[in-house]
Amino acid sequence: MYLTEENVRTIAAYTRIALADDEVSHLTADLNAIIEELKPITEYDLSDVEPTYHPIAGLANVMRDDQVKPGLQQSEALALASATEAGHYRIPSILSEGGN
């Protein structure tokens, strides 16, 4: 067991995904089974091995010029949203009832 149900609840909260109680137990089992399959990479001697975050070796210093290009109209941007108000995106109260 790598993860307890409590761990899974903590991860879900961090990741902003609500989980039903029965899903927590399923997901805990699934995740533990998957993590078990990750074992091979923990068994390597990797001292002195550099990580590869970017697959194209040597690709570096990619930059653009500081030149304005047209973007979206306010109406185009807001048209995609579910809730808007006075040219803004509208969101519910950031603090929950408990005042967190």
Binding site: Y53, A60, N61, R64, H88, Y89, I91, I94, L95
Partner: protein
């Protein structure tokens, strides 16, 4: 609660700052080609990239990278040529992709420092240091020097803005809902983090002021604390004098002016001392400075460190800047305030305090440098040293010009003054062609018309009488008029000199050169 100076007798404050600066001088955002601007209609400076629409990718702004390198060079940092962008993952509605692109363990600029010269009243918060370290010789005032180490300066993107609706004073507490504007989202932002090397609120204020002067000199930001393009958070803890271990720190936010930075830190130091002296514990928390009620309130208690799941951003190729690239940026480095100050003292013998003030104001300093570069050929010819004229020019800038700018709300470039014109005025005063009083009149007329001072002098017939022969004739006439007073003077009542000079000024209708008149009377009365 005890006051700050009393608290600092027993406690040492340990302060570190985090300074965020928006690179407002750039045309576009950090990772997209939207304009950087303040005060536009909400959500009008946005595109698929800065709105975090699905499928978009970031592309770094080269000018922003150049700017942060300049910032690092100007603050004595090592420039890290091999570095990367990371993602800082957290959910908050002002960051459109719910991760902020920032830097990891290696920032573009690492391990820098700034030296502070703390003088005058500001030095009183640290009595123990008075006179302990050397200040530049020219600095006559009492004080001390201290080096503040800079941990790093990293490149990141700013968040959007939230408006909280329905609560009191636009605060998040009690708001019924909030509104999001992404215009600012993605604005290039540099974050400077200091080591906990600051010991007093005055040092913190001075550090931020020095930093602001450097950023303005580099021209990378407008550094407006009011509009939020320069923002400062502070970490504060206390320890008993002589103690080595750090105490528990609090993080202080909302110090959006130099005064608020000082007063917020001062209050927090006193509050912590109060807590500790009454046997309590300082909680590790984020606190909010309330300038109106002059106290700090708790925003959030930190029980565990936040886990932001930092991870290298796979969309952004790493940086491996060439020596040539770094060298070409270094050639763009302008003369910095400290170098400027030293030059003003060395080349023009400006008083230290004036040199500091002038060097710290980019616009005034540029005006000064332009002025002394091109003195107008006048008759009689200039003295070999420019010092007297330069001093007069500095005085005009720091007194008359600054007063006018403050009163009018204008910037120097918006006035009718020119560097050459102001230098000409400085010369006319320094050489005695105009009295100080006449100088002020000419200055007022220059502001109105933009005319050159010599022309104004001619038009107004304001020439100061500096002809030694005619002044001597006038002086002799006056002495003849007041034989009694001459006897009294010669008997030791030298204060009567003022009477003679006053009479001579009257006779020349205010246009006599007071210095020369003075000298003439002294010579005549004391048997020259």
């Amino acid at each position: 609660m005890k006051n700050l100076l009393a608290v600092l007798q027993d406690w040492e404050a340990v302060i570190g700052l985090e300074v965020h600066t928006e690179l407002t001088s750039l045309n576009t955002k950090m990772f997209c080609s939207c304009p950087v601007a303040f005060g536009e209609e909400p959500n009008t400076l946005v595109c698929p990239v800065c709105l975090g629409l699905p499928g978009t990718l970031p592309m770094p702004n080269k000018a922003a990278i150049e700017s942060i390198l300049l910032a690092g060079m100007a603050t004595n940092c090592s420039i890290e040529q091999r570095t990367m962008f990371y993602r800082k993952n957290y959910f908050y509605p002002d960051i459109s992709s719910n991760y902020q692109i920032t830097q990891g363990p290696v920032a573009f600029c690492m391990r820098g420092w700034l030296d502070l010269h703390v003088t005058g009243k500001a030095a009183l918060e640290r009595e123990d240091r008075l006179g302990t370290s050397e200040l530049p010789k020219a600095c006559a005032s009492e004080g001390y020097a201290t080096r503040i180490n800079i941990t790093r300066i990293h490149m990141e993107e700013d968040a959007g803005k939230l408006i909280h609706v329905g609560g009191a004073d636009g605060r998040i507490t009690g708001a019924s809902h909030s509104l999001v504007d992404y215009n600012r989202c993605g604005t290039p932002l540099i974050e400077l983090v200091t080591e906990p090397d600051l010991r007093t609120p005055e040092e913190a204020r001075l550090f931020l002021q020095s930093l602001r002067q450097i950023w303005l000199t580099l021209g990378i930001s407008d550094c407006s604390m009011e509009e939020g393009s320069l923002r400062c958070d502070g970490n504060v803890s206390l320890r008993r004098r002589g103690e080595v271990e750090f105490g528990t720190k609090t993080e202080l936010k909302n110090m959006n002016s130099f005064k608020n930075l000082h007063d917020g830190l001062a209050y927090e130091i006193c509050r912590q001392a109060d807590v500790l002296e009454s046997g309590g514990c300082v909680l590790q928390e984020t606190r909010h400075w309330e300038p109106a009620s002059k106290h700090t309130t708790s925003m959030r208690v930190k029980e565990t460190a936040d886990d932001y799941r930092y991870v290298p951003d796979p969309n952004l190729a790493p940086f491996d800047l060439s020596d040539d690239f770094v060298a070409s940026v270094r050639t763009q480095l302008p003369e910095l305030p400290d170098e400027k100050r030293a030059r003003y003292v060395d080349s023009f013998a400006l008083p230290y305090a004036d040199a500091v003030s002038l060097a710290g104001d980019v616009e005034l300093a540029a005006f000064f440098d332009e002025g002394v570069k091109r003195p107008v050929p006048l008759s009689p010819p200039l003295s070999p040293s420019l010092a007297p004229q330069a001093l007069k020019l500095a005085n005009l800038l720091l007194n008359d010009v600054l007063a006018y700018l403050n009163a009018s709300g204008l910037t120097l470039s918006k006035t009718k003054l020119t560097p050459q014109g102001l230098m000409e005025l400085a010369q006319l005063i320094a050489e005695g062609t105009l009295s100080s009083k006449q100088g002020k009149e000419v200055f007022a007329l220059m502001l109105e018309s933009g005319e050159a001072p010599q022309k104004i002098v001619e038009q107004e017939g304001m020439q100061q009488v500096s002809d030694a022969q005619s002044l001597e004739a006038i002086a002799l006439g006056i002495l003849e008029q007041f034989p009694d007073k001459v006897s009294e003077y010669q008997a030791g009542k030298t204060g009567l000199l003022g009477l003679f000079v006053g009479q001579a000024m009257k006779a020349t209708q205010g246009q006599g050169n007071p210095k020369l008149i003075n000298e003439t009377f002294v010579r005549l009365l004391e048997g020259g």
